[in-house]
């Protein structure tokens, strides 16, 4: 049901924020709160962490109350499985491209990454994917490497 999934996301977000608040407060306390009466490195992380924890718990209470009461929160469209696959694909290809360009150079890494995304995950027609990939890679190379002098990794040949 879209509605309950939306609220579940909100609850998860509040829980994650509460976790971050706890972690920051704990680390802050470890770093020390005061030195000779003046703020030590841990004071502000501790204060911000505690405040975040309180806010997150307040949000959590409101979200849970909305969940029990049938909900005041607006429903949002739910991602389907293909959407999640696409997100994972974008992340994997993007990170892969960044790592691979150190070994195979920017041009080849960008070409493969774009083609994978357009053809593999976006299901664009082969002709459109190839033409756009070649065009975009060439423009990026000319603009960034030739015109702007950005030292993008070159092909090791």
């Amino acid at each position: 049901m879209p509605f309950s999934r939306d609220l579940a996301h909100r609850v998860a977000g509040s829980l994650a924020m509460a976790g971050i608040g706890c972690w920051a407060a704990w680390e802050g306390r470890t770093l020390g709160l005061f030195v000779l009466g003046t703020p030590a490195p841990g004071l502000f992380p501790f204060i911000f962490g505690c405040m975040l924890l309180v806010m997150a718990l307040l949000c959590l209470i409101i979200d849970i109350a909305a969940m029990r009461g049938g909900g005041a929160a607006p429903a949002v469209p739910v991602d389907d499985r293909s959407g999640l696959t696409r997100v994972a694909g974008y992340l994997a290809v993007g990170v892969g491209c960044a790592i691979a360009m150190q070994w195979v150079g920017f041009v080849l890494a960008a070409f493969v990454a774009l083609l994978l995304l357009m053809r593999g995950f976006e299901r664009m027609p082969w002709k459109v994917s190839l033409l756009t990939t070649v065009g975009a890679t060439s423009v990026a190379y000319v603009l960034f490497v030739r015109l702007l002098g950005v030292p993008l990794p070159a092909m090791p040949l």
């Binding site: 491209c97 960044a98 774009l114 459109v128 975009a136």
Partner: protein, 505 residues
């Protein structure tokens, strides 16, 4: 510097061929970005920062400013013709603008939006010219305690920029404050949250964070929820004369444009104000002031003229606190601050004295940019609307490529790209959890200033916090912060009591 000398210097700077070209590129990209839903000015300015590395600081800020106010124009095109706001500040334009278009008055709606923005843009520049030097003089009196108080005031207002609830906005801002403490402590030099990772010693890079949260985050959010719905745009006016409002339209729109300009001017100066809040405030004000409020929502031209003037005025004045005080009033200004820092420019009161060509050049370029936008938009509306037909499946991979190149080019470091993707994933998860990342971004920038100015102030006051209350400006700003917090706590209770109160209505 005399005002006329300052303006002459500004126009001499803005009218150089290269700066004219950068202004044109900025407003063109800005309009295109404004038209495309999803990709807002924050993401675009972050993505295009690497392109400005080779430019001088003045040219780059002229281009980035053009993108920002160009996006305000572009946003109104899709709001009126498609009923999809291209960006947040154009949401209210949908209400009456699209109804006007459906009633066969698309040209008038587009025309009044463009001319209203132009009038507001020029009036705002006149306002900046009049108050800019006084603000800069006042800013010269700002020492650490005043700066700290201003940062506190900014932090209390920052949650107003959140598109989600206030509480979730506060959560986002607090997360940004925590993130700003990563790296070496400004006083002791002790490592915080670095876990012996050398990359984190300098803290999280502002530009990388912005590119991740707003650029990659937007691409991932779009990939998660791709729809194949075809965009249906109402017919684009074919003749230039169709865009010209009639005498009656001008009569109805005159005061809304004037009021929208004043509202936008003031709200743009405040941290947490900005174009979106200005446009909403203008719409509400016009509806309240109208003798025929029932026309609103049914194609009232005042509902287009006022908000469009307000959002453009706010977009332009938001540069003033940034350039004069070094305080970003919103996420876009946070990214522009990053651009200034990359160019070795420290915004603040000294900027007006040390780099007058930058300050006045950017101000003068706003007049030129606004004129360019009206001249550009009249013949190119059809082309901009066609941008909506470019499939997201082509656009998203290309944006991702720009993100990768941009992040890498900052320090020529692959780790930056990986951190950008991590920030992008965080941006996506925040959107899913209905937590707006914009307060995080602004609080992240203000957090660094918060700590350093507090320590400097305490040093001035020999460790005593009274230093903040002994100085009139800092005491006033801290008092205003307390007032904002008190009002935001009491106002909802009062509203609820009014709603619950029994009465004839």
């Amino acid at each position: 510097m005399e005002l006329l000398d300052a303006l002459s210097l500004g126009f001499a700077t803005a009218l150089t061929p290269m700066n004219l070209l950068y202004c044109l590129v900025g407003v063109f990209i800005g309009t295109a970005v404004g038209v495309l839903p999803g990709l807002g000015p924050t993401a675009t300015i972050s993505l295009l920062l690497p392109l400005t590395f080779q430019m001088d600081a003045t040219s780059s800020i002229i281009m980035l400013a053009g993108i920002y106010y160009g996006a305000m124009y572009g946003g109104s095109i899709t709001s009126i013709l498609v009923n999809i706001p291209g960006e947040a500040a154009s949401i209210v334009t949908c209400i009456d603008g699209h109804v006007m278009a459906k009633n066969g008055r698309a040209g008038t709606a587009l025309g009044i939006a463009a001319f209203g923005s132009l009038i507001a843009g020029i009036a705002t520049v006149i306002g900046i010219v009049l108050i800019g030097p006084s603000l800069a003089q006042a800013a010269l009196k700002f020492a650490s305690p005043e700066r700290f108080a201003l940062v506190v005031f900014g932090l209390t207002l920052v949650t107003f920029i959140s598109t989600s609830s206030r509480l979730r906005g506060i959560m986002s801002a607090l997360a940004g404050l925590i993130l700003s403490t990563v790296g070496l402590d400004v006083v002791s030099g002790q490592q915080r949250f670095t876990y012996e990772i050398p990359y984190l010693l300098d803290g999280v890079n502002l530009v990388i964070l912005a590119m991740g949260l707003f650029g990659v985050g937007e691409v991932l959010a779009d990939a998660a929820r791709r729809t194949d719905d075809a965009v249906v745009a109402l017919p684009v006016p074919s003749r230039t004369s169709d865009l010209l409002p009639s005498r009656e339209d001008w009569r109805l729109s005159g005061w809304p444009i004037a009021r929208g300009t004043v509202l936008g001017f003031v709200l743009g100066l405040l941290p947490g104000g900005g174009a979106m809040i200005a446009s909403f405030a203008s719409y509400v004000a016009e509806k309240k002031l109208s003798r025929t409020p029932e026309r609103f929502g049914r194609g009232a031209i005042e509902g287009v003229a006022g908000p469009e003037a307000a959002n453009n005025a706010a977009a332009q004045t938001s540069f003033i606190p940034l350039l004069n005080l070094g305080i970003p009033t919103g996420a876009v200004m946070g990214v522009v601050l990053g651009a200034l820092m990359i160019h070795g420019v420290n915004p603040g009161p000294q900027l007006y004295i040390e780099k007058p060509e930058l300050f006045w050049g950017v101000v003068a370029s706003m007049v030129i940019g606004n004129l360019m936008l009206v001249v550009l938009n009249v013949p190119l509306i059809g082309i901009f609307v066609r941008l909506l037909r470019v499939p997201a499946g082509l656009l998203s991979p290309l944006i991702l490529l720009v993100c990768i190149v941009g992040a890498f080019s900052i320090n020529n470091n692959v780790l930056d790209v990986l951190v950008m993707f991590a920030a992008g994933l965080v941006g996506l998860l925040m959107k899913k959890a209905v937590i707006d990342p914009a307060p995080l971004m602004v609080a992240f920038v203000l957090g660094t200033m918060f700590e350093s100015s507090l320590h400097q102030s305490l040093a001035i006051g020999y460790g005593s916090a009274w230093v903040f209350l002994e100085r009139p400006i800092s005491a006033t700003l801290l008092g205003a912060s307390v007032l904002v917090i008190a009002v935001s706590l009491i106002a909802p209770l009062l509203v609820r009591r009014l709603i619950d109160a029994p009465g004839p209505n």
